[in-house]
């Protein structure tokens, strides 16, 4: 008898994948921003607000903390520990755990120990208002535990339909986060702030660091950090695990391992075609920031359509 997957289980595995990726990338975002802030002069308008925009939760943040209150303390609390924010690290980890609780029989038994460890650690180590050093250690550890969990699953879980669904969740979330980081870091952050130009190099480096991709960039591109090249690298380098192209290709590969994949594969191919038809490097120039933003918007729409196709095919 072929191994099949319950629709309900499929949905939970998919979300497990998304939440795990989200917890990890949010932890990384805060870490990278903390480092960036330390490299920039204090008087600059750059701050913590971009992180709120990256996660697309401006309205919620303002309703909870007020309009001009994007302080380090508030933003970190909102993104890390605030249970009122559905996308906070703690809620993402709770999401991982809750979804895992209901699908634990579909993974190696010890998986739940790893997940529990991540959950218990996050709950005890993340404290609102804690000093940067403590927060930094906690976030790095969370990022590590999350990556360890992903690695563990990759090396030990049966690579069957459950696995493909988990990867779908991982890669769609990752593609989403990749485009958001590029969007905010390159458009909102840099455009229009002429006093920042001397620090542009630092900011582009911070974009790369958000992906742990500084060394990868140098190894792959072999040129100094330059906006068009960075964009080309982050969107189109198939060798970079977090590049948009790589994410889409991975989504496509995972879909091929699932039954009834027609509609979703078709949607994925349209997203790939749109990427292929766009000269991403050209959008790296200051003059094209509006176009870049529009292109990223289109990418996000493709990802939403892809998500919907998966929901409609498999979770109904």
């Amino acid at each position: 008898m072929t191994v099949n997957v319950l629709s309900r289980v499929a949905e939970r595995v998919y979300w497990l994948g998304r939440y795990l990726e989200r917890a990890e990338s949010t932890a990384r975002l805060i870490t990278v921003n903390t480092n960036l802030i330390m490299d920039l002069p204090v008087r600059l308008p750059l701050g913590w607000r971009p992180l709120i925009d990256i996660t697309g939760s401006g309205e919620l943040f303002e309703s909870l903390y007020g309009k001009r209150n994007a302080t380090e303390r508030n933003v970190c609390r909102f993104l890390a520990t605030d249970t009122r924010n559905p996308g906070s690290i703690i809620n993402s980890i709770v999401g991982v755990r809750e979804n895992a609780r209901t699908v634990r029989e579909n993974m190696p038994r010890i998986t739940f120990e790893y997940i529990n460890e991540l959950y218990l650690f996050a709950r005890s180590a993340l404290v609102p208002g804690q000093p940067r050093s403590r927060r930094g250690e906690a976030l790095i550890q969370i990022s590590r535990l999350a990556q360890q969990l992903e690695g563990f699953l990759s090396q030990n879980m049966l690579h069957d339909a459950h696995w493909e669904l988990l990867r779908l969740g991982n890669y769609i979330e990752r593609a989403d986060m990749t485009t958001r980081i590029i969007d905010v870091r390159t458009v909102d952050l840099i455009a229009g702030h002429h006093e920042l130009e001397p620090f542009q190099d630092i900011q582009w480096r911070s974009v790369l660091r958000s992906f742990y991709a500084m060394q990868a960039y140098h190894a792959s591109v072999r040129e100094p950090v330059d906006p068009p090249l960075v964009l080309e690298f982050l969107f189109n380098d198939e060798r970079l695990p977090r590049s948009y192209l790589r994410c889409l290709n991975s989504v496509r590969r995972s879909l091929r391992g699932l039954p009834r994949n027609g509609a979703a594969v078709h949607t994925c191919d349209r997203a790939l075609k749109a990427l292929q038809d766009t000269d991403v490097a050209r959008l790296g120039g200051m003059a094209h920031s509006v176009e870049l933003h529009q292109f990223i918007n289109d990418c996000q729409v493709h990802l939403i359509e892809l998500h919907d196709a998966i929901v409609n095919t498999y979770f109904g």
Partner: protein
Amino acid sequence: MTIDWHAYQSAGFHDELVLPSGRARAGAGELVQALAKLSDDELVERKTAADLAIRSMGITFSVYHDGTNIDREWPFDIVPRLILKREWDEIARGLKQRVRALNAFIDDVYHHRRSLRDGVVPEDYVLKSREYRSRCAGIDPPYGVWSNVCGSDLVRDADGSLYVLEDNLRVPSGVSYMLENRAVMKRIFPELFEHYAIHPVDDYPTELAACLRSLSPRDVRTPRIVVLTPGIYNSAYFEHAYLALEMAAELVEGPDLVVADDDCVYMRTISGLERVDVIYRRIDDLFLDPRAFRKDSMLGVPGLMRAWQAGNVALANAPGCGVADDKVIYTYVPDMIRYFLGEEPILANVPSYRCAEKDHRDYVLDNLQDLVVKPANESGGYGMLIGPQSTRRQRDEFVRVIRANPRNYIGQPTLTLSTAPTLAGAAVEPRHLDLRPFILSGEDIYVTTGGLTRVAMRKGSIVVNSSQGGGSKDTWVVERATKERVA
């Protein structure tokens, strides 16, 4: 300070490990001695290691109405309980005998009712039982077995004699804790396993899977087996998931299943609908099928009873099997054994008074202070009166409810449940316990080796239910040790 077994007193009770003299019971010598070699710090260290193992393994049970915290770590005691293999073999024989008779009785109730006509059990008790399901009449579950998974509770009185307290024929739980207890013990006391020939318990999932497979209506090589759970908020959800995993069965909730126009059961999957052969259901009869029973049930599957009646799916346990899981019917089990099997009962019932019978009722009402009074159909230790620990007001309330509905109550003498040494802080103190073995009936019949030992963690308490502050211990069925030692 280490454990001083001579100072250990379980006065007036039968202790499972230690004799009143402070000597170890037969077979327990090695264990008692090994524990006495540990310093206080080491004992506490092992306990902490056990707690950690349980925490990280995510072994939890949840309690209804426990607010937001649906996970609570499940209390585990690190001192195992021992039973000699020779005694166990006899108990296992008695359990098989009992369950065979109970299944024969249930099958009779839903068919010819010979035993009722012959006056073995009063017809009135059976047909007015809350668990009697008229729509099950005439159904033929495989092998005539209705309760495929039974959990019988055994207790020992002060003089060491063993009694069956009740037979949980409907949806007994706890077996996963039996299995996990052993896993935890192996982690924290690996050296003890070198000295003892402890009989393994981990064949249970394999046996359960074989039992369920034997029920399949379709003659296919690998029938599709599912475990039907009410979902993650159920107190036994951990167990449902655990068993599904161990059996490589699918863990499903009601909405995952659908009964199609062909009266067959299917599950919703990413490839579409897939046929289901056997449902190990862990939800009560009344929630199984909103079309047949409770209309407001969100847990069940509309049309499931229709599919079962058509013989297209097996349900374990069979709906209606609870008719014999009734504390009044329980009092007739020894008679059932004689009637259906022509054998004398191997295991004893607790002497019981049926409140529906006038002389029994009068006795119960006159002696409430000394008796335990139980309602016919509650489980989990709810709704009962423990005479010696009751208040005047509680007893008055029971006089009222017994008079109002005598059929629903039985009285039993308060047994002084046996004890076993249990860690309390860094000291070891006696705590009361019982034992729940599990009996599987399908094509074959199987009894777990030992079972789940439940222990009342509160001093003096005899309520061992996990929902009311009970914990558990690993249960070792051992060959008699080569030599006994003074502890």
